[in-house]
């Protein structure tokens, strides 16, 4: 996957950040993998990002410290892993939202109003 100039993020990583920011604006601060996937399936419709690519994206964003990872402390064979935008991640997510909104064919679920506000905020 080609990395975008400027941010060094792939298009899929930009999408994940934009989803995280949109959900954070809707007061969902702690995300988990299935929730992001569910939203992408719902918002993107026909050809959403597959969950393998989503996992790689989440992992890469944690590696870049744009998302912070927190393991659920509940016992069990597979306790849930939560993700939260870091301060740098929030800035990168704003930029990703603006860049995705500026595409010739922006994803339908990108909140263009939010993107405009973010762009004006600078």
């Amino acid at each position: 996957m080609r990395r975008r100039h400027g941010t060094g993020l792939t298009r899929n990583e930009q999408k994940i950040l934009a989803v995280a920011l949109r959900l954070a604006h809707g007061s969902v601060a702690h995300l988990y993998g299935y929730e992001v996937f569910r939203q992408l399936v719902e918002w993107e419709g026909g050809e959403p990002m597959n969950h393998g690519t989503l996992y790689r994206g989440l992992r890469s964003l944690v590696g870049r410290e744009l998302l912070a990872r927190r393991d659920d402390e509940a016992d069990g064979p597979a306790p849930r892993v939560y993700y939260e935008l870091t301060a740098d991640g929030r800035a990168a997510a704003r930029q990703a939202t603006i860049q995705l909104a500026a595409l010739d064919d922006p994803p339908a679920w990108i909140d263009l109003g939010l993107a405009r506000v973010l762009r004006e905020e600078g």
Binding site: Y34, E47, G52, Y55, R56, R59, D71, A78, V81
Partner: protein, 255 residues
């Protein structure tokens, strides 16, 4: 197909560090527990996702000994073909290594591969030591008895000595609880594997020119496997499995 991909992915997941393994397992369990693909497009999406998960588990997370496990199978296959194929008509192309040595060497490569695939992040002291015995015997016996007439023969003999000496060094390091010594042993084996790769690479060309395609195939498989094996042995930094405290039955009875 779905079950096969999942099985392979769970196997490959073993090579990931603990926190990565937990994160991937948790993610997969969450998706599988809540989402069932219904339409043909969703099933296609799910298949693609499972392939990506398999690739993530198999190739991400740095070099581990899992590559040695995989490459060992390819090398052993090449070694088995060379052992079972009738010798070349050109006497210079006959290594004169006794078939039993070839068989022991093949078994040694397979047992090392199995051990590395089963524990790709940590060297298990006793198991590694015991399972490397056939490899040591086979490689040193082959190095001692192989006829050296051409340049690749000499390279192969030196390479086999490096493998045959490296494995006991690694075992001593393991048993003594000295990771640097164990890693030096693996490094010697890795350099040896590179030598095997070079030698077998030359033999691929020689056998191809000699119109011996089966032997050329055996050498090609052996060379590819040896290269992958060298990558794992030279660049993986496996930890040593912890030693379980041994308590005598009498002391245990006393509590």
């Amino acid at each position: 197909m779905r079950a096969l991909l999942d099985r392979l992915e769970r196997l490959a997941r073993r090579r990931l560090p603990e926190h990565e393994r937990r994160a991937l397992a948790s993610f997969r369990a969450d998706i599988d527990g809540h989402w069932t693909p219904v339409t043909a497009a969703e099933r296609r999406l799910d298949r693609r996702a499972r392939l990506v998960h398999l690739a993530t588990a198999a190739f991400d997370g740095g070099v581990s000994l899992a590559g040695v496990g995989l490459s060992g199978v390819v090398t052993a296959l090449g070694s088995a073909i060379l052992t079972l194929t009738p010798p070349s008509a050109d006497p210079r192309y006959d290594s004169e290594v006794a078939p039993w040595i070839g068989i022991v060497l093949t078994i040694g490569i397979l047992t090392l591969a199995a051990e590395c695939a089963s524990s790709p992040l940590a060297l298990r002291r006793v198991r590694f030591t015991l399972l490397s015995v056939p490899l040591v015997v086979g490689s040193l016996a082959a190095a001692a008895t192989a006829r050296v007439t051409l340049f690749p023969d000499a390279t192969l003999a030196v390479a086999l000595v490096l493998v045959g000496v490296g494995a006991p060094i690694a075992a001593v390091g393991l048993l003594a609880g000295r990771p640097p010594v164990a890693h030096r042993g693996l490094w010697s084996m890795g350099i040896g594997a590179l030598g095997v790769c070079f030698s077998d690479g030359v033999w691929v060309v020689l056998f191809a020119l000699d119109h011996a395609p089966v032997r050329a195939l055996g050498c090609a498989l052996s060379a590819i496997g040896a290269l992958l094996m060298a990558n794992g042995l030279l660049f993986a930094r496996p930890s040593l499995s912890p030693v379980r405290p041994v308590r005598s039955p009498r002391r245990a009875a006393l509590g």
